[in-house]
C-alpha cells in the first residue's frame, strides 16, 4: 500500500470542487472583465491622468522608481496617441502632459522628445497641432541633454517642417552641429536652410534621416509617408520640367506620359513610390494616379 495516500473524503471533495470550480470561475471572471473594460472606458480614460498632471508631485510619489514610471507613462503616451489616431477623435489633449510627465521622471529618455516633437507639432488628424508645445518639450530635452545632437535636429525639424521658420531651423541645426558626435551634414544643412529656406530636397533629406535613425514605429511610419510623398513631389517637379520641354518642342502640352516617352524625353515606366504610374493631367501638369496612396504636402502648380 502506498505510504502517502490521503483517503480523507472531505479533502478530496474540496480538491474536486476546486478543480471544477476554479477554471469555470476564471472564465466567468475574464468575461466580466471584458465587459467592465467596455463599460469603464468613458469613465476612467482621461480622468485618471488629471490628478497627476503635476509631474513633480508624481516624481516625489514614485519613491525613486522614476525611470520605471517614466517608461510606463511613455508607453501610455504611445497608446494614447495610437487609440486617438484610430478613433479619429481628433483631439490629443493629454499627449503633451503625458509626455511631459515621462520627461520629468526620466529626462534622459530621448525618444519622448522626438515623439513629442513630431506628433505634437503635426496638424490634425495626425497630431495635436501644437508646434509650440512641441518646441517647449524639445527645448526641455536639450536643457537636460545639451550634448545630444539628435535633439537639436528634432528642434530644427519642427521649425523647418511645421513652423516654416527657416532662420530658427538653421540656428538649431548649427548648434547641433557643434555638439560632439554630430554628423557632418548638420553644418551643411544649417547653411543650406539658411540660404534656400524650404526645398524639396532638404525636406526629403530631413525626413529620410528621421526614418533611418528612429527606433519608434509610429515615427518610422510617418517618416516613410513623408519621404514617399516628397519623392513623388520631386519626380513630379522633374516631369513638369520635361512637360515644358515638350511644349517648347511641339507647341502644345502633352496629353499622356506615353507621348513623353515616344518623344524620347523620358525612359521606362515611371511609377510613384506606391507603385502607381504617374499620370498626365490637364495643361500638361503631371499628377499622381488617382488610386495612389502617396500623399503630397503641397500642390505645386505652375501657371
Amino acid at each position: 500500500m502506498s505510504t502517502h495516500t490521503l483517503k480523507l473524503t472531505s479533502h478530496l471533495r474540496s480538491v474536486a470542487l476546486a478543480v471544477v470550480a476554479v477554471p469555470l470561475l476564471f472564465v466567468a471572471i475574464a468575461a466580466l472583465q471584458a465587459r467592465i473594460d467596455v463599460l469603464s472606458a468613458p469613465v476612467t480614460q482621461d480622468k485618471e491622468e488629471l490628478l497627476l498632471r503635476s509631474a513633480s508631485l508624481l516624481k516625489k510619489l514614485s519613491l525613486g522608481y522614476d525611470p520605471l514610471l517614466a517608461d510606463i507613462y511613455w508607453t501610455r503616451a504611445v497608446q494614447y496617441y495610437g487609440t486617438r489616431l484610430q478613433n479619429r477623435s481628433g483631439s490629443f489633449e493629454l499627449l503633451a502632459p503625458l509626455l511631459n510627465i515621462a520627461a520629468t521622471l526620466d529626462p534622459k529618455l530621448l525618444i519622448v522628445y522626438q515623439f513629442g516633437g513630431i506628433f505634437l507639432s503635426d496638424h490634425p488628424p495626425g497630431g495635436a497641432g501644437r508646434p509650440d508645445l512641441a518646441v517647449e518639450l524639445v527645448k526641455r530635452g536639450i536643457t537636460a541633454n545639451p550634448n545630444e545632437w539628435r535633439l537639436y535636429y528634432d528642434l530644427g525639424f519642427i521649425y523647418y517642417t511645421r513652423l516654416k521658420d527657416y532662420q530658427k531651423a538653421s540656428q538649431a541645426f548649427l548648434e547641433g552641429s557643434e555638439t560632439p558626435a554630430a554628423p557632418i551634414w548638420m553644418k551643411v544643412m544649417a547653411a543650406r536652410v539658411a540660404e534656400n529656406g524650404e526645398s524639396l530636397e532638404t525636406s526629403r533629406f530631413i525626413w529620410a534621416e528621421l526614418y533611418d535613425s528612429t527606433k519608434d514605429e509610429s515615427v518610422r511610419k510617418t517618416a516613410l509617408e513623408h519621404v514617399q510623398g516628397l519623392d513623388a513631389e520631386i519626380a513630379l517637379k522633374r516631369l513638369n520640367q520635361v512637360s515644358e520641354l515638350y511644349w517648347k518642342k511641339f507647341g502644345r502640352f502633352p496629353t499622356s506620359m506615353q507621348e513623353l516617352r515616344s518623344a524620347g524625353l523620358v525612359q521606362g515606366d515611371l511609377k510613384d513610390p506606391a507603385g502607381y504610374p504617374y499620370a498626365m493631367g490637364p495643361h500638361g501638369i503631371p499628377q499622381l494616379d488617382t488610386h495612389s496612396s502617396v500623399k503630397i504636402e503641397s500642390n505645386q502648380r505652375k501657371p
Binding site: 500500500m1 502506498s2 505510504t3 502517502h4 495516500t5 490521503l6 483517503k7 480523507l8 473524503t9 472531505s10 479533502h11
Partner: protein
C-alpha cells in the same frame, strides 16, 4: 451488538523526514484498538510513542496514511462525530486575548445552546474546574495549571459522550491532579467513555478499566491493569519499628533498610510467620504488612525495555 465507543482499525501515520523529505518515519504502526461505552481507557507509553499522534488523528488534525477509526459508530471524517466528543490537547493553547469565560462561551456557541443555557453552562464548568475567581482574567495571564483547567472545561462543557484527554495531569500540582482525577471519576460515574493518555502509571492503575501500552508506534499490550500484571505474589513487605536502643533480629539485619528506627524488609511468603515470630520476640512494633506484586510500572518498564532493546526506531522506506 452495541457499537463500541471507539473503534480504531489499522491506523497508521508516516511522516516525511530528511532534507528532501524523501524518507518516511512511521510514528504509528497499524494501531487496532477497541474501547467500549462507559470504559475509562488509559493510553500509556513513553514520550514519542505516538500517543499524541493517535489523538490528533482521531480529531482530524492530521490525516492517516492508512487505516480507519470510528467513534460511536461515526467515522472520524464525519464532522457530526465532533458533537459527541470532547478533546483536550496536550499543553493546551488558547486565544490569549479572551478571558476564560469568553473562551468557553465562544466554544459553547458551536453547539447551538441558547444564550441563557450557554451562560449557565459556562458558569457551572468554570466552577467545576475551580476557575470562578479567574473567569474574567485574560488567558494570557494564566499559569500552565490554570490553562490545563480551562482545557478540561472546554472539553466537557457540552456533555460529550466520549472524552479524549491528552496528558490531563501534566503540569498540575498534587491538588490539581486530585481534582482532575475526581473529574474523570465523575465522568465515569455518568457513564461516559474517557480515553486519556498519560505516563503517570499510578493514575492509570487507579482510574482505568483498561490500559493500552504504546511503544515506538506499536501497541504492545492491552488489558485491565490487573490482567496485565500477574497476580503472582513475589513476597511480603514488612515495615516495623524497633524499640529505642534495640537492634532488629539478626536474620533481618543485613537485608533490611532503615531510616532511624524504622525498618523495611522483604521476606518470602513461606517465611512470613517465622519472621513475624522473630519480630515479636524482640518486641518490634509492626507498622505495615503488604504483599509484593509486580506493579504496572514493572510491566511497563519491562515492555519498554524489551522493545527498545529489540529494535531501533522504526523507519519505513518509501516504496
Amino acid at each position: 451488538m452495541t457499537n463500541p465507543a471507539i473503534e480504531i482499525q489499522g491506523l497508521t501515520k508516516d511522516y516525511p523526514v530528511g532534507f528532501w523529505r524523501k524518507r518516511m518515519c512511521r510514528s504509528l504502526d497499524y494501531l487496532t484498538l477497541r474501547v467500549e461505552e462507559g470504559e475509562t481507557f488509559g493510553f500509556l507509553g513513553p514520550n514519542g510513542a505516538g500517543k499524541t499522534t493517535t489523538m490528533k488523528l482521531l480529531m482530524g488534525l492530521i490525516f492517516p496514511t492508512a487505516g480507519t477509526a470510528r467513534v460511536r459508530g461515526r467515522s472520524i471524517e464525519d464532522v457530526r462525530m465532533h458533537r459527541e466528543i470532547g478533546y483536550m490537547p496536550e499543553q493546551p493553547y488558547f486565544y490569549d486575548y479572551l478571558t476564560a469565560r469568553e473562551l468557553l462561551e465562544y466554544f459553547a456557541r458551536f453547539f447551538g445552546y441558547s444564550a441563557v443555557e450557554r451562560r449557565e453552562r459556562v458558569t457551572r464548568f468554570l466552577e467545576l474546574v475551580g476557575l470562578t475567581t479567574a473567569s474574567d482574567v485574560q488567558l494570557r495571564k494564566f499559569s500552565k495549571g490554570m490553562l490545563q483547567r480551562v482545557g478540561i472545561a472546554q472539553a466537557i462543557l457540552h456533555d460529550p459522550q466520549v472524552v479524549f484527554l491528552d496528558e490531563p495531569m501534566s503540569g498540575l500540582d498534587p491538588v490539581g491532579r486530585r481534582e482532575v482525577r475526581d473529574i474523570i471519576l465523575n465522568l465515569k460515574r455518568q457513564g461516559r467513555t474517557v480515553f486519556f493518555s498519560t505516563h503517570i502509571l499510578s493514575d492509570a492503575e487507579m482510574l482505568c478499566d483498561r490500559v493500552g501500552v504504546l511503544v515506538g508506534g506499536k501497541l504492545r499490550g492491552v488489558g485491565a491493569p490487573e490482567e496485565l500484571v500477574s497476580m503472582e505474589v513475589l513476597g511480603m513487605e514488612i515495615l516495623f519499628e524497633v524499640r529505642a536502643g534495640s537492634a532488629p533480629p539478626t536474620s533481618m539485619a543485613e537485608r533490611a533498610t532503615h531510616t532511624g528506627n524504622r525498618y523495611r524488609v522483604e521476606v518470602a511468603e513461606a517465611d512470613l510467620y517465622s519472621a513475624l515470630e522473630e519480630l515479636r520476640s524482640c518486641e518490634a512494633r509492626i507498622l505495615s504488612l503488604a504483599p509484593l506484586r509486580p506493579s504496572l510500572e514493572d510491566y511497563f518498564l519491562k515492555l519498554v525495555g524489551r522493545e527498545q532493546a529489540m529494535q531501533p526506531p522504526t523507519e519505513v522506506s518509501l516504496v
